[in-house]
């Protein structure tokens, strides 16, 4: 069946593997894949020797996505670019130093709550705790809260 084959393998696109179990859906939303006009598969809670459980996202026929967003949500995830059914490139992810319009500042006293036209900009403050800081009000967001 065509759908079954897509879950197993894709001819062209991206496979985001080794996503920490439970973060797949969040990443799906952050990448705005719910509005995509191409096929996307989320596998949730797949068995993994290394991780116990993991999530996987497979995106067909599209390789132009925002890798900084993936790094922000789970920088331990692995990225494989697929062409003609073969892996042509593997990408290593890092925690992005700065993200724009990915994290929304939740501080109601922040100027971003009233100046609607300005981008929400966050900079990495502490890589160990995955803490980001709003460039305007300096409110801190930890990775787990993103």
């Amino acid at each position: 069946m065509k759908g079954q084959r897509l879950v197993n393998s894709i001819e062209k696109g991206i496979v985001i593997d080794h996503i920490r179990a439970g973060l797949g859906v969040k990443l799906f939303h952050f990448l705005k894949l719910d509005n995509a006009d191409f096929t996307v598969v989320i596998i949730s809670g797949a068995e993994s020797k290394r991780m116990g459980r993991k999530d996987i996202i497979k995106i067909q026929n599209m390789i132009d996505i925002d890798y900084t967003v993936i790094g922000l949500i789970d920088h331990n995830a692995t990225i494989s670019i697929i062409e003609d059914g073969e892996i042509t490139e593997k990408k290593k992810l890092e925690l992005p130093r700065r993200v724009e319009n990915v994290i929304v500042c939740k501080n109601p006293r922040c100027i971003t709550s009233t100046e609607r036209q300005i981008p929400h900009v966050f900079s990495l403050q502490n890589a160990e705790t995955r803490t980001y800081r709003c460039d305007y009000c300096e409110d801190h967001v930890r990775g787990i809260e993103i």
Binding site: R109, I111, T114, E115, C134, D135, Y136, C137
Partner: protein, 307 residues
């Protein structure tokens, strides 16, 4: 000086050397104000206060007028186009066509940052919500220099609401850059210095102690920075009543303090410093309010490249 055309948005925007140059200029102006009364002739300062303020606004305006400059602006958002829904960015872009320097106070945190990003002229943050108030810190430092003749090596006590008080946060971050400064933080447990500030001090190897009483440690302090303990910060009234007296400075508590203690308060005061303390030679808070004007004079002269 390398401060011409710069902004002052955060208390750490200037290096210690740059800051000390501004403070030294402020001292020269204080000593001979007449020599500087035409320094900013022909220059215009826009004073954009989106929320009310007495001391900060008047000291900025007095500073500009005493340097021979002129002032335009508004003292509340209701009398600006913000009331019609204009964005802060648009207001700043417009005003920077009219003025040589913009002083902005805004209730939202990070507002001065936005202003600096779109302005064609220097921007000075005169307070953005609970975030930063860098000219208050300049004022505090000028007062400390004026009274103690140095900043390095002092034991600085901070007392009262250390959790929400932006003036304390800015002062601590700034002054901890000077060699040998240590801190004594006295506050109710609920109002201790925030975690980010403790992390900042730990990361920079700055010595500090925390206590829930001020009287036990007052004898060790060279500077005592008082702040207000507000009722609304407590979960219940009994706790507030139980704790508030521990953080009121009066003549009794001052008995064990050093003879040359420098008592500061950003003002306005409510009841955290008893009126009897005003007569004590160690009370420097009204002198501090005066220093605010000289610090702002020196700052604007520097940002406008007039020195």
């Amino acid at each position: 000086m390398g401060l011409e055309s710069r902004n002052l948005i955060s208390t750490l925007d200037f290096s210690i050397e740059e800051q000390d140059e501004v403070l030294a200029l402020a001292e020269r102006i204080m000593a001979a104000p007449k020599e500087y009364d035409h320094l900013l002739g022909g220059r215009i300062m826009a004073s954009l206060f989106f929320e009310p303020s007495t001391r900060t606004r008047l000291s900025f305006e007095a500073a500009m007028l005493r340097l021979g400059g002129r002032v335009i602006g508004f003292s509340e958002a209701g009398s600006s186009s913000a009331a019609k829904g204009e964005s802060l960015s648009d207001t700043i872009r417009t005003v920077s066509q009219y003025a040589d320097i913009i002083v902005v106070r805004h209730p939202k945190e990070g507002a001065a940052n936005i202003a600096a990003g779109v302005s064609g002229v220097p921007v000075v943050n005169a307070g953005d919500g609970g975030h930063e108030h860098p000219t208050q810190t300049l004022t505090d430092l000028l007062t400390i220099r004026s009274v103690k003749k140095r900043v390095g090596g002092l034991a600085v006590g901070c007392c009262g609401d250390l959790k929400f008080g932006r003036t304390v946060h800015s002062l601590v971050k700034n002054i901890s850059r000077y060699e040998g400064v240590s801190f004594i933080f006295a506050s109710p447990d609920e109002l201790r210095i925030p975690r980010f500030l403790r992390a900042f001090l730990d990361d920079n190897g700055v010595e500090y102690v925390e206590t829930d009483r001020m009287d036990g440690k007052i004898a060790e302090m060279d500077v005592l920075y008082m702040t207000r303990v507000q009722k609304e910060r407590f979960f219940n009234e009994e706790e507030y009543i139980r704790l508030k007296d521990l953080f009121i400075l009066d003549a009794g508590k001052l008995r064990s303090a050093k003879e040359d203690l420098c008592i500061l308060h950003p003002l306005p005061r409510v009841n955290e410093i008893a009126y009897e303390v005003d007569a004590d030679k160690r009370a420097a808070y009204f002198h501090q309010a005066g220093c605010g004007m000289y610090a702002r004079m020196a700052l604007m002269a520097s940002l406008l490249g007039a020195v």
